[in-house]
Symmetry: C2
Subunit: 361 residues, 2 copies
């Protein structure tokens, strides 16, 4: 079951798993498409409706994907999806995942935390009630850890303090209401693993770039979205589009930030590996970091361990090789669809106010 399967990572993952022979269902309320309308932004690539996407996939591969259109904050809807599909694994992408969106105004900060935290609580309760054995693969973010001056370990850290030692959850330092909602999720999930024996993997993922995957390349109607705007566009995707249309690169502040990035083809690979290696029950949530590659930077120390997935067989696509064939070519192909008005960041962390804003992109 792919929660958020109409989205950037979810759609690529749904097709990849279906192609590998998994029986796949998509759960999505399509709210991401509403955000585009509300903010006056759009994907660089034209994307077809979820209904046409699923129909096209069936005609191209003969494989069916079940569709459950609804909000996971509506527990009645979510229960029906679980009772009908009886998932063995639930991959949870289905959240409001833009940091700038969560900092536009009070109502969107509150929406982000409510949608993400209550949605995830409902998924945990649905698993407990209807599918105890179901393995939850939850998308977290490396942003939960912030940028500490020590190595970032995968989920837990062994601390020796005043002569005693314990292995404790790695300290969290989130820097937006969106990243904070992921921290809340991680704590809620960790508790249900201990209290109910839920099997969960928290995939703390770095920033994703790229748009092409083997499956979405099979037909125009299967094409994935490509966000380059200041609210949902992720750094590398934004920079490529800016380069192609000759817009100065929008580097924030001194630009010394260091983050882990990964090709979307590695997102789907990591999810597949996580599903194939489900967490054991009651062991506490298994947390895997998925940043790639590791870069040292002068502004702040950033050394995020990510060995677990490599040990499970991840063969990452390195940045250079895939960047050109995937990103720039795409940006060039859809150059005339670029609306430069959408490029500049329009959200300030400091100026966020209580009045609901109509974002002037």
């Amino acid at each position: 079951m792919i929660i958020g399967g109409d989205g950037y990572c979810g759609w690529a993952t749904a097709l990849h798993l279906s192609n590998k022979g998994y029986e796949v269902a998509i759960v999505d309320n399509l709210v991401r498409r509403l955000f585009d309308h509300q903010l006056g932004i759009d994907s660089l690539t034209p994307i077809s409706s979820i209904q046409n996407r699923v129909r096209r996939w069936k005609s191209v591969t003969g494989k069916s994907i079940q569709l459950f259109i609804g909000d996971i904050c509506d527990f009645e809807f979510l229960s029906e999806a679980f009772k009908s599909f009886e998932p063995d694994s639930a991959v949870h992408f289905g959240e409001q995942r833009s940091a700038p969106y969560s900092m536009i105004d009070r109502s969107r900060a509150v929406y982000t935390q409510h949608n993400n935290v209550i949605g995830t609580l409902n998924v945990l309760f649905a698993i407990k009630e209807f599918s105890q054995e179901c393995h939850l693969v939850k998308l977290g973010t490396m942003g939960e850890y912030g940028t500490p001056n020590i190595d970032i370990e995968e989920g837990y850290i062994t601390i020796t303090h005043n002569g005693r030692t314990d292995t404790l959850p790695y300290p969290k330092q989130a820097s937006s209401f969106y990243h904070l909602s992921k921290v809340h999720d991680s704590h809620n999930i960790a508790f249900t693993c201990k209290a109910w024996g839920i099997r969960a993997t928290d995939l703390n993922q770095g920033v994703v770039y790229g748009v092409r995957t083997d499956e979405t390349d099979m037909h125009e109607e299967l094409c994935n979205r490509f966000d380059y705007d200041g609210v949902f566009g992720t750094a590398l995707n934004r920079f490529c589009v800016q380069a192609v249309v000759g817009h100065p690169l929008t580097v924030y502040g001194k630009g010394g930030q260091t983050r882990g990035y990964l090709d979307i083809r590695d997102t789907v690979q990591c999810v597949e590996l996580a599903i194939a290696n489900p967490a054991k029950p009651g062991l506490g949530v298994q947390t895997i970091s998925v940043p790639n590659p590791r870069v040292e930077a002068e502004e702040h120390y950033y050394n995020a361990k990510h060995t677990k997935l490599v040990e499970l067989g991840l063969r990452p696509h390195l940045l250079s090789e895939s960047l050109l064939d995937s990103l720039l070519n795409f940006a060039i192909k859809f150059k005339d669809r670029v609306d430069t008005a959408q490029i500049m960041p329009t959200v300030s962390w400091k100026k966020i106010g209580v009045k609901t804003r109509t974002v002037s992109v």
Copy 2:
């Protein structure tokens, strides 16, 4: 401004501060009184309405307390309270604070996290929008830290790892949807301190016992509530009532748990000290632990530092001395009001289900 000022800790604090010459406003939607009706439980002591309480305080001391009856999740209401009262300090008690209540069923788990997290977000936004200088004193709980095998520091811990060192937020390990909501609050508050320069003190408080304070003793109608039931009653209060009516003490499991306890008179003292020593802006949330006293136990290590408040002048009431004159005498005085049906715990962490339960006390 005392958010949750009709409650157990809030009412005692409101009177104490008013008595000390502070201008006091109470903000409360009285939902705690609704929980009593819904769960068929009641305070051991008869408590008068908030309106009569405030009227009696005025007649006894000549001091007025302003009343704002409403829900802090309703931002319009909260804005009016802030704009009208213009608080210099906001003490935030106003949450659903029972761990068992949060574990009754899905709807109450969701209610607890929504009410507490969104309520606190609204308070932060109200401070940012209407009273930037206002000092937030937020009630946290020692339960946020769980029971680690190392000393519990106050909010932050300095970690040396792989040859590098940093001071990071102390790892959180909450064990109910209620305690988790407090962890969420702490992370949200810490972020707004950094991003907006909000002045905040996170008072991680241990379990409160006792019912009498100087001010609530001034008149029968000022009397504070005393919870002894299995959902809202805190351990020591419960044990005292059980002892007085000859009911076996309801020790959970092997009974090796160790927690910090404090007399309600120290709760009001700590809040007063916290207000008198506001956090500096932009320094990150100031976190103070308020467990008392420190006890070694064979089941698990529990050593929670709590020096900051003592340094600020806290003179704690030790357990033995205050216990008798406060608790037992009270329990004896209201012995015939005790409803033994309310004593046994009726909520199981494991059996929590998705159907909304009518708790059979």
